[in-house]
């Protein structure tokens, strides 16, 4: 049989004689003891020091162009001795390679990295890594954004000290907040959810401005915030953090991680905080910060088999959080639901169970599958004066994702299905609201990159929801590099959600306002689902000046609501919820500069402009308590670390918040009126960390160093059961200057 190849080769030679001038052709055979003619397919045949080469085909035949420029023809094959033939004319070559035990080109069973390569992304993503997170030493996720201009931090109310975050001028319900890509702060946890993730548990945060990806659902409108938590395989064996501040807030975090088997690791993370000291520095008779206690226990298991491509996580978390706010002399045991004193308690219990599994196909690093399943049960029992508000929310979420390529890795896609189930049971004073939301959806997201100038991500999902109906959600992100170190991005997307009007606005219960639901026949509390379109453009230019790197960024985004549940609290005695009639939009503009001014001295500054307007009963107005202008500055300095990691780290942050429109207070008595707008003010925070070694560091910091506070955060504080009582109009801190200290101990 093999002889026919030989004959065929000769035949080929004869046939090709007529036009063989420009080629060297022939056959490569394998030398063997029996002296048989065995063709060698796949052998390399190339001109030495040239760009011209070929491989023998299945019959061992080859043809290589002959130009006369090169005269050394190299024949090589794995496991054979390489031969170099001198060839000076286009002739026929028959050559036998002799076996050797030398190996040069090897087909490797490659081990993969657990982390996949990140391409220049088409989305506008800011990553906050662990070093950045340390700049805000306290205490939980809601306080992790102070040193980043992409997120604005506002005050939720005058009582709980809870911070509310905003992106592109829209508050957190319009941001999809996920924990390792599982939607986290939503439904019942919308108001306090960010305070339920201790800061030390956070490994990194990714902030996506604009529409975001379809993979995590249809709910994101102004952006996505994803939090990656510490992982048992990579976190410190032992970590202890203690924190105390001058207002009597104490926090303790401990992490314990252990490898229990070759492929299994587990971590136990315990967080506790407590404030039992009553603080009333502004002497309005109301606590400036809640009396609070939280215990938060999280156990996580990680399975990793890098050779086979499996990674998995199992997690269980239990949280109990109790807060007491209101008048200093309020005693829940005797004063609850009486006019003895005004007070409020917010008690939350939450259980979380989650499982994630990922598989990367061993011979195809570009192909993978992931499955996530998460269950949570959130129970909040609370009252604000005479207003009672209880909510129980059980949620099941699962998402199956398949990633692969089309042709090659320049064209990739993600596709999968999502299933979500939410059961709400709410008691608002005497009225029960029960609701079950179910949805199932499928998505497909295509990503293209030409590895240099252009990349884009285009996704669409279709969901069928028992209250939102069946609908498409398209999203598009494009990046173009017009010149070196520059990146121009554009995005477009639609988002939808069911507004949980009470859970999201529960601060309004702490007022004398009457709640009015101006609803119709919509599916969610009588309201229509919210729907908005977001689009934006951003430009980033990197530069190197005096040998140090910096960048300048500009971005503009607009969110246009097609429908919204408008919360109108322009009338001080009411809160009116209604479907949007007319216009509602948020325009945001940001310009940002980052530069390493001196070695290890980082300078970051940003100016932001927001025009967030909604049609209220009194016409199109800027959203109350939303500053039009904001300025941000952060300066960070670190000394050169010594061999054992010892160094100093210093950090200073300035936030200047421009005037904010206040909801009208004209019907109140003269001394309770606040005027049309808040004064503009500046806030300063600073922190110093002394790192003694890689194992131990201490930090000392101050918040609100200029000691700026709002004069009268609790309106009608002297008569909390009277008509002028309102704690919802808060535009500035209630707590004055405050110092804190803490330590971190790590053992690897």
């Amino acid at each position: 049989m093999k002889n026919t190849y030989w004959l065929f080769a000769i035949l080929l030679q004869i046939l090709n004689l007529g036009h063989a001038q420009d080629k060297v052709e022939g056959m490569i055979m394998e030398g063997n003891a029996a002296g048989k003619h065995l063709a060698l397919p796949g052998a390399n045949v190339y001109w030495l020091n040239s760009p011209i080469g070929t491989i023998t085909n299945e019959e061992g035949l080859f043809a290589i162009p002959y130009t006369g420029e090169y005269d050394k023809l190299v024949v090589s094959y794995i496991g054979f001795k390489t031969d170099t033939l001198t060839i000076t004319e286009p002739i026929m070559v028959h050559h036998t390679l002799q076996p050797s035990n030398q190996l040069d080109e090897v087909v490797v069973e490659q081990k993969r990295d657990a982390v996949q390569k990140a391409f220049l992304s088409s989305e506008n993503i800011v990553t906050i890594n662990s070093a950045e997170l340390l700049k805000a030493a306290c205490c939980n996720l809601s306080e992790s954004f102070e040193t980043n201009p992409a997120i604005d931090v506002n005050f939720n109310d005058a009582l709980t000290g809870t911070k509310q975050i905003e992106m592109l001028g829209l508050t957190s319900p319009y941001i999809l907040i996920t924990q390792e890509n599982i939607p986290m702060v939503r439904g019942a946890s919308q108001t306090f959810g960010l305070t339920f993730t201790p800061g030390t548990w956070v490994e990194s945060i990714q902030i996506t401005k604009g529409a975001g990806s379809v993979v995590n659902g249809y709910e994101s409108i102004s952006g996505q915030i994803n939090t990656e938590l510490v992982k048992p395989f990579t976190d410190h064996k032992l970590f202890v953090n203690g924190y105390a501040n001058q207002n009597g807030r104490y926090e303790v975090n401990t992490h314990l991680n252990a490898k229990v088997a070759e492929k299994w690791s587990t971590g136990l993370y315990v967080h506790g905080n407590k404030r039992s000291q009553k603080e009333d520095n502004n002497e309005d008779g109301f606590l400036d910060a809640p009396l609070a206690e939280q215990l938060n226990v999280f156990n996580r298991w990680q399975y990793q088999d890098a050779a086979k491509g499996w990674v998995g996580f199992l997690g269980a978390r239990f949280l109990v959080d109790d807060k007491q706010v209101g008048q200093v002399n309020f005693n829940p045991e005797t004063d609850k639901f009486t006019t003895n004193a005004w007070g409020s308690e917010i008690n939350t219990k939450r259980y979380d169970l989650s499982g994630k599994m990922g598989y990367v196909f061993p011979d195809m690093p570009f192909q993978s599958m992931g499955l996530q399943i998460a269950y949570s049960k959130h129970e909040q029992d609370s009252y604000y004066g005479f207003n009672q508000y209880d909510i129980s929310h059980a949620s099941l979420y699962s998402n199956l994702v398949f990633n692969s390529i089309l042709g090659d890795t320049r064209n990739t896609f993600k596709t999968g299905i999502t299933f979500a189930y939410d059961q709400y049971d709410e008691l608002v004073n005497t009225v029960d609201f029960n609701r079950v939301d179910r949805s199932v959806g499928a998505f497909f997201e295509y990503a293209y990159t030409n590895l240099e100038k252009l990349s884009l991500t285009a996704g669409v999902r279709v969901d069928s929801h028992n209250r939102l109906g069946t609908f498409f959600t398209p999203r598009l992100h494009v990046r173009y590099t017009p010149w070196e170190n520059a990146s121009l991005r554009g995005s477009f997307g639609i988002g939808r959600r069911a507004a949980n009007i009470f859970a999201e606005n529960q601060r309004l219960f702490a007022s004398n306002r009457q709640l009015l639901l101006n609803s119709s026949t919509g599916p969610i509390y009588g309201f229509e689902p919210e729907k908005a379109t977001n689009f934006g453009l951003s430009f980033l230019q990197g530069f190197t000046w005096e040998g140090r790197k910096g960048n300048v960024g500009l971005d503009f985004y607009r969110t246009q609501f097609n429908n919204q549940v408008v919360v109108d609290w322009e009338n001080p005695s009411q809160v009116i919820f209604s479907n949007l009639e007319g216009d509602s939009y948020a325009n945001s503009f940001q310009v940002e500069l980052n530069y390493e001014v001196l070695p290890r001295l980082d300078f970051r500054t940003a100016y932001k402009f927001y025009s967030v307007k909604t049609n209220y009963q009194n016409g199109l107005l800027q959203k109350p308590l939303t500053a039009k202008n904001r300025y941000f500055l952060n300066i960070g300095y670190t000394t050169n670390p010594k061999e054992n990691g010892a160094q100093w780290r210093m950090d200073y942050t300035l936030h200047t918040v421009g005037q904010q429109r206040l909801p009208s207070t004209v019907v109140f008595e003269q001394n309770y009126q606040l005027g049309d707008a808040s004064p503009s003010y500046a806030l300063m925070n600073a922190q110093v960390t002394k790192v003694f070694s890689n194992a131990f560091e201490v930090y000392l910091g101050g918040e609100n160093l200029t000691n700026f506070t709002q004069d009268n955060p609790v309106l009608g504080a002297n008569d909390p059961f009277g008509p002028n009582f309102d704690t919802s109009i808060v535009y500035a801190p209630i707590m004055g200057r405050m110092f804190y200290a803490g330590f971190r101990y790590k053992l690897n």
């Binding site: 760009p51 491989i55 690093p365 090659d408 590895l451």
Partner: protein, 119 residues
């Protein structure tokens, strides 16, 4: 009988198909020195029909490929790499092709890892 021949034919084709791997891994060295080289090398590889995955490592100069063997082979990829100015063990870029690469990428003078200094 005809059906049997057809069946055998199909079976034989299936056999040849398995002999030629759809996802064959290849690793070999390519000269270069920085992130720009990386983008250029990987792009040249992916432009060869049948190359599904290409990743070039700056410090080791190792190119990892996953190719569909039915559509391409290592020499074809090395020619494509030589055509954009990068040398492999077998094939060398022409002076013209080498002259076209960015000045910072001139690895023939000094091929140490340069990625810390620039992209």
């Amino acid at each position: 009988m005809k059906k049997l021949i057809l069946f055998l034919g199909v079976a034989l084709m299936a056999l040849t198909a398995t002999a030629q791997d759809k996802n064959k891994k290849l690793n070999f060295e390519v000269n270069g020195k920085c992130g720009m080289c990386k983008a250029r090398i990987e792009k040249a590889c992916l432009n060869v029909k049948g190359v599904k995955y290409a990743s070039w490592d700056i410090p080791t100069h190792e190119l990892s490929l996953i190719i569909d063997e039915r559509k391409t082979n290592s020499m074809e990829i090395k020619s494509a790499i030589a055509a954009v100015g990068h040398d492999s063990k077998e094939l060398k870029a022409t002076e013209e092709a080498y002259a076209k690469i960015h000045p910072c990428c001139k690895y023939r003078e000094d091929n140490t890892d340069d990625s810390k200094h620039h992209d």
